[in-house]
């Protein structure tokens, strides 16, 4: 028999005992629904967690330093010795950026300096942010806005520094101030940053300069430079609630500048003193470079590649890896629980079809007598099982989708009551839809195996005698 004929006959047979077959199909769809609901929640939670992790920037950033820097010397014995290590200059930064899976590599510009606000000086750590940092989770809930351009004379403050500027020392036991209250008196105001500029010694020394040269006697060679005291006015555009640099521990900055602006200022950095010993160098030299990698999974490979180039690297251990394992196991368990309902439903299919054989025994006998082969009968029962599977699969996915939605909605209402931000815990990717329907189809076919075989083996003479 041809497939369209088989399908047509199967659907006709299903329609004949409508109630029983619908109930069986409902059984399957409940099974599929529980599978889809469970897995969609599992997947949703996983996506939520990894979305947070990736956005936090904690696990996709590698900090690259030269071995000439003292950092990390004792941590990695296989790293090149300080003397052999390369200089981390602009060329090296570009080279790092070309490593596969690196999205960008930007220099870390970080210095301690004085900011004047309301004529009061405040000493703090300042660091520069590339424009890509805008998507960082730490800027969620920020008041004001991100830098208007990469070179704008603008500044974003961390909440704790904003408190300091406003003279609100954090008192013990009092609740953390709302970032909105801190931001309103500050946004749009101006700060004056005083800093030491590193200028080539050829330029006219301004007042208050000091000359720094190579240790020893070559005080006037090419590598010497002057340090000039400068001022820069900055507009406060944002106050952020969270801490964008939480991974840096005590050296984390409280005040952020756009990267291009920071580069153009040529601020004297602590590492500059060591770098003068390197001889002539026209390119800017960085104390460290941050490389952003596409996904946490690629950190290790990228780190290895950068180490081969002769630099020291530092990254947080990929915590998302164990998280992914956790979610794999969670999904597996949820999947098993979901499948249990489908397993029960598959018994329903077996039952329904075995009943159908008993009922249609005579009909099977007639079909065989007028020329149906064993294969025809088998295919017919298979098709009936498969049709129930597909039908149950489709309705089940829809039902599971709805259940997941309701759970998500309910959770969000709960979160709202707890004054927590709502989020999406639930995700039905297209592969889940397809594989749920496919799985339901396959389970149904397997359930049809026994009844179909039994129907096919039916002895036509006995079947015809059956009343």
């Amino acid at each position: 028999m041809k497939i369209p004929d088989i399908t047509e006959l199967a659907l006709r047979n299903l329609r004949e005992s409508m109630l029983r077959n619908s109930l069986t199909t409902v059984g399957i769809s409940v099974g599929v629904a529980s599978l889809v609901a469970m897995l969609s929640l599992g997947i949703g939670l996983q996506q939520l967690a990894s979305r947070r992790l990736v956005k936090s920037g904690l696990f996709d950033t590698i900090i690259v330093t030269s071995r000439r820097d003292l950092r990390g010397r004792d941590e990695d014995r296989n790293a090149p010795l300080p003397g052999e290590s390369r200089i981390l200059d602009e060329g090296a930064r570009q080279e790092i950026e070309r490593v596969p899976n690196v999205i960008e590599a930007y220099p870390d510009i970080r210095f301690v300096t004085e900011l004047r606000f309301d004529d009061k000086p405040h000493l703090t750590v300042i660091s520069a942010l590339p424009s890509s940092a805008k998507s960082n989770d730490a800027f969620e809930g920020m008041q004001g806005r991100f830098f208007s351009s990469d070179g704008a004379a603008e500044v974003i403050l961390q909440k704790s520094f904003a408190e300091e500027l406003l003279g609100k020392a954090p008192a013990r036991g009092t609740p953390e101030p709302n970032v909105r209250d801190l931001a309103s008196p500050l946004l749009g105001k101006e700060l004056v940053m005083r800093y030491a500029q590193r200028a080539p010694s050829q330029s006219q020394p301004a007042s208050g300069t000091a000359k720094v040269g190579s240790p020893g006697f070559g005080a006037l060679d090419d590598s010497s430079y002057s340090v000039v005291s400068r001022e820069q006015t900055l507009k406060i555009v944002g106050v952020c609630d969270l801490d964008p640099e939480s991974m840096r521990g005590p050296t984390r900055a409280k005040v952020f500048l756009p990267l291009k602006l920071a580069e153009s200022l040529h601020v004297m950095q602590p590492t500059d003193l060591r770098e003068v010993s390197r001889g002539p160098n026209e390119q800017p030299v960085y104390s460290s470079v941050s490389a952003r990698v596409k996904s946490p999974a690629q950190i290790q490979a990228v780190e290895d590649a950068i180490k081969k180039m002769g630099f020291t690297t530092f990254s947080l251990l990929d915590a998302s890896q164990s998280l992914r394992t956790f979610f794999k196991v969670l999904d597996l368990f949820l999947g098993i629980f979901g499948s249990l309902a489908l397993a029960v439903a598959s018994i329903g299919i077996v039952n329904t079809l075995v009943m159908a054989i008993l009922e249609r025994r005579r009909e099977i006998g007639v079909m065989k007598a007028i020329g149906a082969s064993d294969g025809d009968v088998k295919k017919l029962f298979f098709a009936e099982a498969g049709a129930m599977g597909i039908l149950g699969g489709f309705t089940g996915v829809a039902l599971g989708w709805a259940i997941g939605r309701v759970i998500n909605l309910g959770t969000n209402i709960y979160l709202k009551r707890q004054s927590l931000p709502p989020d999406n815990f639930w995700s039905v990717p297209w592969w889940l839809v397809l594989s749920a329907i496919g799985f339901s189809f396959i389970v149904s076919l397997i359930s049809g195996l026994y009844p179909a075989g039994r129907a096919a083996r039916l002895d036509p003479v006995q079947a015809l005698r059956y009343e």
């Binding site: 028999m1 007639v366 065989k368 007028i370 020329g371 082969s373 003479v461």
Partner: protein, 225 residues
Amino acid sequence: MGETLIRAVDGVSIAIRPGEFVALLGSSGSGKSSLLNLIAGLDRPTSGSVVVQDRDLAKLSREELAKYRLLVVGMVFQSFNLIANMTLAENVELPLRFAEVDRGLRDDLARQALERVGLRARMNHRPSELSGGEQQRAALARALINRPKILLADEPTGNLDSHTGTEIMDMVRQFNRELGMTVVMVTHERPLAERYAQRMIFLADGKLMDDRPNSVSAGNIRGEA
């Protein structure tokens, strides 16, 4: 359960020529239906052979037997055995589905077959909406749809009144004569056999009792001579 082997058909040796109209006679349990089932390829002999068109049915695979039932023989039954949830047209074209005939051709053939048995107007009715005679006519149309060489009938008039029975039997005889179809009919009604068959085979307890040409039948040329 203490099963004992019952020889339903025992040592029966007959030869039926193409185009013959044969009646298998005997009381119930005589083995006439079992013999018909053997010829129909629904059953297989435990020993011996059933040779149809030079092929021994006992040696065919299940698949080949199904093909044989589909293409070589057509069957009608006492209880008509139409499939209840299908219309007459669908019932009649069912063997064509098994033979994988294309839909368009199938519809035409089914219509023609129903036309031949005078049920064209009823083709979209379900069997339950028809009388017994009409149902048996539809069953005949179904049996003939694949143009088989042999028509096997198991008490075809058993559930019909005598008038309708005659109508059906006239139709069977017409097929026998016009299409040159071999007909093997099981019946326990001797008058029916005498009226239509050319040859009568008597069975009792699975054994062949008598095998003789019908001297009464109008269909028998020798009988008429």
